[in-house]
Symmetry: C2
Subunit: 448 residues, 2 copies
């Protein structure tokens, strides 16, 4: 089925009426498509108006609304402990050890199983976290604020690649490093930020796309741009040379250092597009390691979910597909606003990390224009004549064209306690988009 025969087709404005472009035929009632188009335009305009500024760092429990003692935030849609994947379990265990709430892994698991710990999505608390995304009250988070509206979003501190908490590792050395980053390095970065103008993250990622980043799996340039902006401020804010050197080595040595503040920036942008009545734009995509879930601008706060797939990619030596957990993390917030796989044409060198060939990087971005309603005015791709990245995923187009969003991702080991085993590419399941389409139609009084 296609065109007016399909539900998606009936909700799309026909090309002949849309003034050219990618519209699809619309059935009765003819006004539905135009109304949705209008709502989607409002949503992307609100997204484009956000200018996220990195204003500092803070203790998560002090700034994240509702992050009380006994609450842990995690990536993706809500999930019960019984269904939680290995890397999420590992990260929860690690966070409880980190908080001093449990003496060992068994005790930590038992606490959660007894219901003494409340697991809630980051996304319900103005936060986002890559991979397991587990954020506990005493961790440090980046604070990102919209220059226009004042809204804030938060993300934890990136630990780098490999054996790290967000991939489910929780050995003593993992926790020691986490403590060093959260208690020494990040607070100094916060002081450095506070010592001058806040950092314009929209401008930063725009420049990084011109330097071969895509803002999700490849953030080498962005992390160095962060180092450039903070370098001398760090030196002046530090208690001494060794403290400054550690912070500089963190920014210089972790090519993902900027990912987490960028994700918080993307969260601000995506949230601005949420809540427009009648809009069929995706305002959240996230995975908890078991389920992939979306939220849609016009559908309120409900999640539409399906099983999270296993990525295809390149594995670290000694690991293979049998070790892989299904896809996990809030980092798909980057794709949600037109970065990551959507901006892959800007980052052909990424194929050395996630697999594929450079031509496929161009093809990936070109395909995403098919399912999006606008092109970013802020994020442009030199390789495509400075065309704006595809932005604003329309569930109508996803379903009508049978094209799910592309996602660049890391791969976690399926067992708790191991960590990262690779990186790759993945497509979410179609079911949540179909469900979202039906719900959007129902909200407009149109029956499937």
């Amino acid at each position: 089925m296609s065109g007016r025969e399909t539900l998606a087709g009936r909700l799309l404005v026909p090309a002949s009426e849309a003034g050219g472009g990618g519209g699809r035929p619309v059935g009765a009632p003819g006004a539905a498509g135009a109304a949705i188009d209008g709502a989607n335009r409002v949503a992307v305009e609100r997204m484009a108006a956000v200018r996220p500024l990195l204003t500092g760092v803070a203790r998560a429990g002090d700034v994240i609304p509702g992050l009380e003692p006994g609450v842990l935030l995690h990536a993706g849609p809500p999930i019960e402990w019984q269904r939680a994947s290995g890397p999420l379990r590992g990260a929860v265990i690690g966070a409880l050890l980190y908080e001093g709430m449990a003496a060992d892994a068994a005790a930590a698991e038992a606490m959660v199983a007894r219901g003494e710990v409340r697991l809630e999505p980051c996304h319900h608390h103005s936060a986002v976290g890559p991979m397991a995304g587990v954020t506990s009250p005493s961790m440090t988070v980046w604070v990102v604020q919209d220059a226009s509206g004042g809204r804030r979003a938060y993300s934890n501190i990136n630990e780098g690649y490999g054996k790290v908490l967000r991939y489910g590792a929780y050995a003593p050395d993992v926790l020691d490093r986490l403590r060093l980053l959260n208690e020494e390095v990040a607070p100094l970065l916060g002081k450095a930020i506070a010592a001058g103008e806040p950092l314009d993250l929209r401008a930063l990622v725009g420049e990084a796309l011109h330097m071969g980043d895509e803002g999700h799996n490849r953030n080498r340039a962005g992390s160095l741009l962060l180092m450039r902006q903070l370098g001398s401020r760090i030196v002046r804010a530090a208690a001494g040379a060794e403290q400054a050197a550690a912070a500089l080595d963190y920014l210089g040595g972790n090519a993902l250092a900027v990912l987490n503040p960028l994700m918080a920036a993307c969260k601000l942008i995506a949230d601005a597009g949420h809540g427009v009545a009648g809009s069929t734009l995706v305002s959240t995509m996230a995975r908890n390691g078991t389920d992939f879930g979306i939220r849609v601008s016009g559908l309120g706060d409900r999640w539409l979910t399906g099983p999270s797939p296993i990525p295809e990619g390149l594995y670290f030596p000694g690991y293979g597909p049998a070790d892989a957990n299904p896809d996990i993390g809030d980092s798909t917030i980057t794709e949600t606003v037109g970065l990551g796989a959507f901006a892959m044409a800007a980052a052909p060198a990424i194929v050395t990390f996630v697999g594929g060939r450079p031509e496929e990087a161009i093809a990936a971005t070109l395909e995403m224009y098919e399912i999006t309603v606008s092109e970013s005015p802020h994020f442009t791709i030199p390789q495509l004549g400075f065309r704006g990245t595809p932005t604003g995923i329309d569930v109508r187009r996803v379903v009508e064209l049978g094209i799910t969003p592309r996602i660049n991702t890391g791969i976690a080991h399926r067992e708790p306690g191991v960590g990262q085993v690779g990186a790759g590419l993945v497509r979410p399941p179609m079911a949540p988009f179909v469900e979202a389409l039906k719900a959007s139609a129902a909200a407009l009084g149109i029956n499937a």
Copy 2:
């Protein structure tokens, strides 16, 4: 004329004999083309074997052979003062003021006119300098050494864009900044380098090409990679926070900071290919603001020159083509070894600075494969499936195909004392390549 009718054609191996590829028909004597091909292979293999390491900085007069008091080095082929262009005159005046050898511009010019100052090409002293390239004994230079052979090359400290000595400016603020960079910032960078392993510049520029640099006009990523490698070393080597902050701000604030050490690295690579009997490869391309000149591997130390053309490009506000000096600088050493315009496909965002469209960046690199004999094993272009950059300019191909090398460049004001007015693209004149071809033929006993 083309093919066996031309001199170039008679010196090229015919495609049928060359085992496929871009060879041209060869006339009698049939062995000439093969002998030249063999010599050129030796030359590019020697170039590929060079691994330039940044080992530190030094006072120019202490390390550059023959840079005695009263000698000033300059970019390009040799030139008499009477024929020197405005920006070269301006930089010479500035250097004499900097050295305390003259009290004012008039006195400086008079000294040179009286023959009290000896002007010699950087290239005759194992050195290279961008734009005017003027290097005086008390300036600081980067020291780059070949890990394999121990040879060294030198380049001065980059001052950034705009009103700077290398573009012919010499006002007191220009000289103050030059003094700060040479006497405070650069020595600290030298200490930082000396405090650890030397920096592998070949690896650095290889990575920078994957981050949207081309290694000549666009060195944003490379300069940040330098900052990343030196950041914590600078902090530890500095006398205090302010000194460290100034050095970090220099590396972070000057997107050309890495250009000069890279040029010295390219000089080492190019020189390694020089001096192979029978080779028709270009081992130097350089401009003094009046003449463009080349040297050829098999032709000894003679320069073959022609008039330097005026670049086409983008001008800073308030300036236009009427203000432009003919092309100037040793920075074409980057194109000589397969970087700069030859690697432009890796750097599509450069068109915002030098003009043109991103597609033309790809076309520029593809065209340069036509006139080169190999592809770099170290510098690769993600956009072209990680193909090595075109390396080893063959004067036979340049003349036979009528394709001169492409060059990315800055544009200096034609009057001394002003500075940079833009950036753009340029092609050298054909005459020196024709002359080189004839000389190569003559050396082989073949008459034109």
